[in-house]
């Protein structure tokens, strides 16, 4: 809706009724389940004026519980909509009233904070107009990402390091799997080896493959009718679950005038990245008549884009962003990561998005050719110039140091408490945490009303994180000192250290978390809890509620795999959460001579990188041996029994090149050492697996991935010989 503020709205109660329904949508040609609100995705655009009272009736007509959070809006704690933390969830078939005074202005949004519902369509714009607004026409766009896969499936697969998402990306854009074949084609084999040596999976800027990117629920949206010279304010909301977007305009520079709802001193830029859940307001100028100008949002992985067309007529395009130079990025990561998995910024003091290590992957900044390997001694790393996008190119890219508040934002004089948050993560097992603790593993952080809270955040993980604080604005300390900007989302890139601070002026419990949906659900967050807060009427039993909240990141994820081959069945099953793992493996021959074998163990991952896992388990095997036949292992230990049932204890450790070493001893006193590497990506779809152990058993297998569930497989196994078949993966 093109909003023309013609009248000054008086202070009043503004009522909206939102009807949440289960619905079937079709964005891609396939029908999928989703949530619609008042019949639409995104949810309806809500407009208020500062000073109003918002009265929002949520009628939950779906079968699921829901809970709506008003993102960036200052309100009483029990209205915040974090289920079980601030507000009771709304059961299906009931109505809930959210009512709060509107005490601010700007561009905000609202979304479901319940489970993964946000990915399924529950996001919308929440616009608060100033009492006296400048007479510019304005338009709001809500950007989002859509996947045909159920969000639950997306989440489960992420935890199982399933690379189906990368294969789907590679269908759109060659090389996205970063297989060994891709590495050879890019003449970067050494880089790929270096990467696996340091125990990293493929270099990626985003985890999830999306089938569609949407602007207000459409691939392309349009606002018609402008004259040359017209200026329009576009409010941009990133309502996606896990996609960052590059925003660019084909009609010239964009004038950034607000971020996360707060005004900033206008700054003209060629492009900016909008983190998940951030909002930016830009003023665009229409350069000529009878032409439509493109405001394009390209996902950070550059796989897809979505556009808003401003004006009508012949369409002025903007060039697509060229594919990322993945192996340049991989080399950069190899240089920055230490053998123990920690990151090393080489003394560059990175902060505020100024030094984007990813520029090495951006062809438009650093050229399209592969960088030559020449020793260049005086390439002074310390000032990190080679990563400062704005010094490398004519293209002006916004960063947080360029944001300046038009008014002083200094906090009132008060005692300041300082917290150090290290953002930690483990890509292989998709564990995301702060100071290596998830929400459920950490205590609430107690703060006092009246004090100032300063948080120094260091991102020691390999991905960027949009950290969002509920119910407060924080200052992002930058070179503008007293005029540092106010925001409620801080995008922090790997290796960066940023400082934010806020005045503790509220009461109750407030969530601080990464706004990448799947990171949040994995436990990347903290709860700030005001001491001596009055009881929350929404949550009569706070302890029980808190357990429900904690259940999110304690969730176990299930995985199953079986290879149906000519020489037997080979399979495994896993049930895992942040720290615990229950694994079962089996090898079932088709005759007693081939034998049957199962192993079940339960282990706990230790340490930040989770390379180390001690376990205990139970093995059972049956193999009919020829009379006089004995089995002997590397240590000279002998076995003559047909059937064995033993308890065992062992440790698994992930070695460089992602080889899993498994050492164990069983109740018969037998030792076994096993080395295994699965899923070596040879090409886009071909995977190699290798295994060897001290019982002289070995295996080599190839898998060709057909789709998300089935692969063709062929392997040679020392017990069962050669076999071919297909593998089913869940």
């Amino acid at each position: 809706m093109l909003w023309m503020p013609l009248i000054t709205l008086a202070q009043k109660t503004v009522r909206y009724d939102l009807y949440v329904r289960d619905t079937i949508v079709n964005f891609t040609g396939k029908e999928r389940q989703a949530f619609s609100v008042n019949g639409s995705i995104p949810m309806p655009e809500l407009h208020f004026t500062e000073g109003d009272t918002a009265e929002i009736w949520v009628h939950n007509e779906s079968k699921k519980k829901t809970s709506i959070h008003w993102h960036g809006v200052i309100l009483p704690n029990e209205q915040d909509g974090v289920p079980y933390l601030t507000t009771a969830p709304i059961p299906g078939g009931t109505t809930h009233l959210y009512k709060f005074p509107i005490v601010q202005n700007g561009t905000y949004w609202y979304h479901s904070h319940m489970e993964l519902q946000e990915q399924n369509g529950m996001y919308g714009a929440f616009i608060i107009h100033k009492k006296e607004e400048t007479k510019l026409p304005e338009y709001t766009i809500v950007l989002s990402d859509w996947t045909d896969m159920k969000p639950f499936e997306v989440h489960r697969r992420l935890h199982m390091a399933n690379d189906w998402s990368a294969i789907k990306k590679a269908v759109v854009q060659k090389g996205a799997v970063q297989s060994y074949a891709d590495a050879i084609a890019a003449r970067s084999l050494k880089t790929k080896f270096g990467n696996e040596w340091k125990r990293m999976l493929a270099m990626d800027v985003s985890d999830v493959y999306y089938d569609k990117l949407l602007t207000n629920g459409r691939s392309e949206d349009e606002v018609p009718a402008f004259k040359a010279g017209d200026r329009i304010r576009v409010r941009i909301i990133n309502g996606s679950s896990s996609s960052y977007f590059w925003i660019r305009y084909s009609g010239g520079k964009m004038n950034v005038v607000a971020s996360d709802g707060m005004d900033v001193v206008p700054v003209p830029v060629d492009r900016f990245i909008i983190a998940v859940s951030e909002t930016y307001d830009v003023i665009l100028t229409i350069p000529s008549e009878n032409t439509a100008f493109e405001l394009q949002a390209t996902s950070e992985d550059r796989i897809r884009s979505t556009s808003l067309w401003l004006g009508t007529g012949i369409k002025q395009l903007i060039s697509p962003l060229e594919p990322l130079k993945y192996f340049e990025g991989m080399q950069m990561m190899n240089d920055m990561i230490k053998m123990d998995g920690n990151l090393d910024d080489m003394g560059m003091n990175m902060s505020l998005q100024q030094m984007d290590m990813n520029v090495v992957m951006y062809p438009e900044i650093t050229g399209s050719k592969k960088k030559k390997k020449q020793g260049h001694k005086h390439m002074d790393m310390a000032d990190g110039k080679q990563y400062k996008s704005n010094e490398l190119s004519e293209i002006v890219t916004l960063n947080y140091n360029m944001l300046r508040s038009p008014v002083k934002t200094t906090l009132p004089e008060a005692k300041t408490t300082v917290y150090h948050f290290e953002l930690t993560g483990n890509m292989n097992r998709y564990v995301w945490s702060i100071n290596n603790k998830t929400v459920s593993e950490a205590d609430k952080i107690l703060i006092r009303k009246g004090e100032n809270v300063r948080i120094i955040i260091y991102n020691n993980s390999m991905m960027r994180h949009p950290m969002h604080l509920h119910g407060h604005f924080f200052r992002v300390l930058n070179e503008n000192g007293d005029y540092s900007p106010l925001k409620n989302v801080l995008d922090i890139m790997p290796m960066e250290t940023d400082t934010i601070e806020f005045a503790a002026t509220e009461s109750g419990d407030w969530f601080f978390h990464c706004h990448i949906l799947y990171h949040m659900m994995s436990g990347m967050g903290r709860i700030f809890s005001y001491e001596n807060s009055p009881p929350n009427p929404q949550l009569p039993n706070p302890e029980k509620s808190l357990k429900k909240l904690y259940a999110d990141d304690r969730e176990f994820h299930f995985m199953f795999l079986n290879d149906f081959a000519t020489n037997g069945n080979d399979g495994e099953m896993m049930l895992q959460n942040t720290r615990w793992s229950l694994q079962a493996e089996w090898r079932l021959g088709y005759s007693a001579k081939m034998g049957y074998e199962t192993e079940v163990h339960m282990g706990r991952y230790i340490g930040k990188m989770q390379w180390f896992m001690p376990y205990v388990g139970l093995d059972w095997r049956y193999r009919r041996m020829e009379s006089g036949e004995t089995e002997r292992n590397l240590f000279g230990q002998v076995n003559t029994h047909n059937q064995r049932t033993v308890l065992c204890a062992g440790i698994q450790y992930t070695l460089p090149m992602l080889i899993v070493a498994d050492v164990r001893i069983d109740t018969d006193g037998k030792f076994r050492l096993q080395l295994m590497r699965e899923d070596i990506p040879l090409t886009k779809r071909l995977r190699l697996g290798l295994m060897y152990n001290s019982d002289f058993e070995y295996m080599a297998g190839l898998k060709y991935i057909l789709n998300k569930s089935f692969s063709l497989s062929a392997h040679y196994d020392s017990d069962m010989g050669f076999g071919g078949g297909f593998t089913f993966t869940y």
């Binding site: 004038n255 012949i314 390439m379």
Partner: protein, 282 residues
């Protein structure tokens, strides 16, 4: 045997025929206006528009019309015209991105379909625009064309873009040929004649190849000559002499730049900020 040969010949002819004849199903043919200049344009436009089995197109250089045959179930004319625009060519539905147009070789720089009425986007831009105007008035220099194209060439080398470098060098060679010698004083004329032959030679060498290493060799010599000219012909704006100590096995090389920040044309992205400013020419 003979019969077999005939048969084979017949089969191969048939194959050749079916390969030529468009195998496009659900075919629709329509014509669209597409801007362009020359045979090179024709090649680029058609390459962008063709997609095996889905769309095939022919562009008429004189009429500036694209005859497009496409599979109406698989694609739309908009999709095809979008690709043509991304390749740098304005057409009746899409205007090419400015950078795509700029990357076209010199001979392909057709007159764009829409002359944008430039509008001051915001106060910051207004200021910038007025600055440029002032600079252009100040310039009034006999060699401004030569300098401009030199800087464009340097920028292309900074971006490791051999293709653009080649195009810019061609434009530079042209500008060298068009320098107005009649308006020169005798001192200026002598300075110009001293180096113009070398300048032309190096520019042409750069234009002839897309091999960036070779272009850079010539660029280092070209830069030396250009620098000698700045004594006599002051560049319109402040210009910086910059030096990379690494190039040519440590012998080093110079270049001129309009900005003080170092962007190395000899190594491009691999060590963009290597080097330092050794002299400021005002």
């Amino acid at each position: 045997m003979k019969k077999l040969q005939h048969f084979m010949l017949g089969m191969s002819l048939l194959l050749a025929f079916t390969a030529c004849a468009s195998p496009i199903k659900n075919a629709k043919t329509e014509t669209y206006k597409v801007a362009g200049n020359c045979d090179m344009c024709k090649n680029t436009i058609e390459t962008a528009a063709n997609k095996k089995g889905i769309s095939s197109a022919e562009w008429d250089k004189d009429k500036k019309v694209l005859t497009l045959t496409y599979d109406s179930k698989q694609t739309t004319p908009s999709e095809v015209l979008k690709r043509v625009a991304y390749a740098g060519y304005d057409n009746e539905q899409f205007l090419a991105p400015d950078d795509a147009y700029a990357k076209l070789p010199g001979c392909c720089h057709y007159d764009r379909m829409k002359k944008e009425t430039s509008v001051a986007a915001n106060p910051a831009n207004e200021q910038k625009e007025s600055e440029t105007v002032v600079n252009e008035q100040e310039k009034g220099n006999l060699l401004s064309g030569v300098y401009d194209h030199y800087f464009a060439l340097k920028d292309a080398l900074v971006k490791d873009d051999g293709k653009t470098a080649s195009a810019k060098a061609l434009a530079l060679a042209k500008a060298i040929g068009e320098v107005d010698m009649k308006s020169m004083s005798s001192e200026e004329h002598a300075a110009w004649m001293n180096v113009s032959g070398d300048l032309l030679m190096h520019a042409e060498h750069i234009a002839e190849t897309k091999d960036i290493a070779h272009q850079r060799e010539h660029f280092s010599k070209l830069s030396q000559k250009i620098y000698t000219l700045t004594e006599t012909f002051k560049p319109g704006e402040t210009t910086y002499l910059q030096h990379c100590p690494m190039y040519n096995d440590g012998k080093g090389a110079d270049w001129l730049s309009k900005e003080n920040a170092v962007k190395n044309p000899y190594y491009g992205s691999s060590m963009l900020t290597c080097g330092k400013t050794t002299k400021t020419i005002r």
